[in-house]
């Protein structure tokens, strides 16, 4: 079984300068950030070659002027690789990875609704978690959305 440091080494060997940040703070943890252009190759390499075949979740977050998607992948249930990629807020689009990870769609849909990153190729992009009729463009987990503002959206929705 591959450990955190081994994962970082393999990813760096394969992707070279496309790995923008990589560290293994614990034996069973690795965090690797890759450039947008290399994301497809990085996730394929992790899933198909390094056997990180268990997608635990996708965390989407704001990172300054960019949006970040973090794919938490586990190898043999043990080592967890967090593979992340950043995209500018104005062009926050990433490919859907359902083809190599059949369970990715639910996490992608959740991330899309909550943060506004769009996953190109999603077969069903209807609301999965937000209520019916929720205004498009209001993404609750964006930093500019306040709790009070979101409650107002919800109240307006109920009023119709």
């Amino acid at each position: 079984m591959i450990d955190g440091a081994g994962t970082v080494k393999h990813m760096q060997e394969r992707l070279g300068a496309e790995v923008l940040d990589a560290r293994a703070p614990k034996p069973r943890r690795a965090f690797v950030r890759v450039s947008r252009g290399a994301f497809g190759e990085a996730i394929r390499h992790a899933v198909l070659d390094l056997e990180f075949s268990h997608l635990i979740a996708i965390t989407a977050a704001e990172a300054g002027e960019e949006m970040e998607a973090m794919y938490h992948l586990a190898c043999m249930g043990a080592t967890v690789l967090t593979l992340s990629v950043r995209v500018p807020k104005g062009d926050a689009v990433l490919p859907d990875i359902s083809e190599i990870m059949p369970n990715a769609a639910i996490y992608e849909r959740e991330a899309e609704e909550m943060t506004g990153i769009r996953f190109e190729g999603l077969k069903d992009d209807s609301n999965l978690v937000l209520p019916k009729g929720w205004p498009s463009g209001v993404h609750p987990l964006r930093k500019d959305q306040t709790y009070e503002g979101l409650i107002k959206v919800r109240l307006d929705l109920e009023k119709g």
Partner: protein
């Protein structure tokens, strides 16, 4: 054979077979399900957003309220994540107490579930026995922590309450009784012909599908795959505990029942071993208010399977991003696979088979109450 066209049957969000609100749109051809579309989010409460707006100390109370059944799993996962970011080591005694509490939680959750699946199978006697016996564990929680449902036992830096030697004896006595009951459930589910006919070959999930769709917990293990965070990625002091990861090759609702019933016996063994080897010393260390910038992934094996929390700190007293992925969400793709091709009458028992906890799964939508004050209901 076959109808000219299929019809769509909505199931939930309010439905007698669902204990919590969720919606499934079934496409049926006669009595056979040919497609299913899940719709979640009915009990989203904005917890991830609320965590970003709360201090780390406050966050543990929010984590406690993600779910009423796996409350210890979530607080344990939260505390582990924040302690790692803070760079503090939890005293060994606290780790043992966390583990004892987690296994007691597994006992009460699994016995609740055995009751529910028996109920869905039309076997209400077992349902009532299981829920009656579960009371003993809830009473233990009350004595140990003051709360039967929410326990507030975990805190940043350790646990809030110690386990005295008198309490340890009381836990041992309760377990002695409970072990007999757990073995009795195991005997019943393995031998009762009506239960076997109702659960065998129902809700089949082949090992290849369980792995491909990333199922977790007893749902995964009942498909013959030995995946358990306690063994694969040990936390607290699980690496010092002797226990077996229970699996079943039957890949159906029967297998899921058998795995959970056997896991109860294993949990009892873990608690006994932990009580026997409970380290001396403090059970809590002081946690700082601010957390240095960093990120971490924390995992625990909740009663329903792998629970993951991701935390990113920015050097302030509040997290920059906090993500929670509860096991039920991970099991939804596998559940949809199990539900296709089945008879409509099997829907409730298959749904119950993954031990769904929709409150856990949903975290983030905003419910109105209190008018302008916007207080959570």
């Amino acid at each position: 054979m076959g109808y000219a066209s299929t019809i769509k049957v909505p199931f939930g969000p309010q439905h007698p077979a669902l204990k919590e609100p969720e919606h499934f749109l079934f496409e049926v051809d006669g009595d056979t399900v040919v497609g299913v579309t899940p719709r979640i989010g009915y009990v989203h409460r904005g917890i991830e957003k609320a965590l970003e707006l709360s201090t780390y100390g406050h966050g543990i109370y929010l984590a406690e309220r993600v779910c009423g059944i796996c409350t210890i799993a979530h607080t344990c996962c939260y505390a582990q994540a924040i302690e790692e970011l803070m760079g503090i080591d939890v005293p060994p005694r606290a780790n043992y107490i966390r583990m004892i509490m987690s296994e007691l939680e597994r006992l009460h959750s699994h016995s609740l579930w055995v009751g529910l699946v028996a109920h869905e199978a039309g076997f209400d006697t077992l349902f009532m026995y299981a829920w009656r016996d579960r009371e003993a564990i809830l009473n233990l929680f009350q004595e140990l922590t003051g709360g039967r449902v929410l326990h507030a036992i975990n805190t940043l830096g350790g646990v809030r309450r110690d386990i005295s030697s008198e309490m340890a004896d009381r836990i041992r006595r309760t377990l002695e009784h409970f072990e007999g009951r757990a073995r009795e459930y195991l005997r019943i589910v393995r031998t009762e012909p009506t239960f076997l006919r109702r659960t065998r070959d129902v809700g089949v999930l082949k090992p290849a599908d369980a792995a491909r769709l990333n199922a977790v917990g007893p749902t995964l293990r009942a498909s013959g795959i030995k995946g358990d965070v306690r063994r694969d990625d040990p936390y607290a002091a699980y690496d010092e505990m002797p226990f077996n990861v229970i699996t079943s090759d039957s890949c159906d609702v029967f297998g899921r029942t058998e795995v959970r019933a056997e896991e109860m016996v294993e949990s009892i063994g873990i608690i006994r071993h932990a009580l026997e080897h409970l380290p001396e010393g403090v059970f809590r260390v002081r946690a700082p208010r601010n957390v240095p910038a960093g990120e971490c992934v924390s995992r625990v094996e909740a009663p329903r399977g792998e629970d993951m929390h991701y935390a990113r700190s920015n050097g302030t007293a509040k997290p920059d991003r906090y993500k929670i992925r509860a096991p039920t969400l991970a099991n939804i793709p596998a559940l949809c696979k199990m539900l296709v091709g089945i008879h409509v009458a099997d829907i409730p028992i298959i749904l119950a088979g993954i031990d769904p906890c929709f409150s856990c799964m949903d975290r983030m939508v905003f419910i109105r109450s209190g008018g302008a004050t916007g207080r959570a209901r």
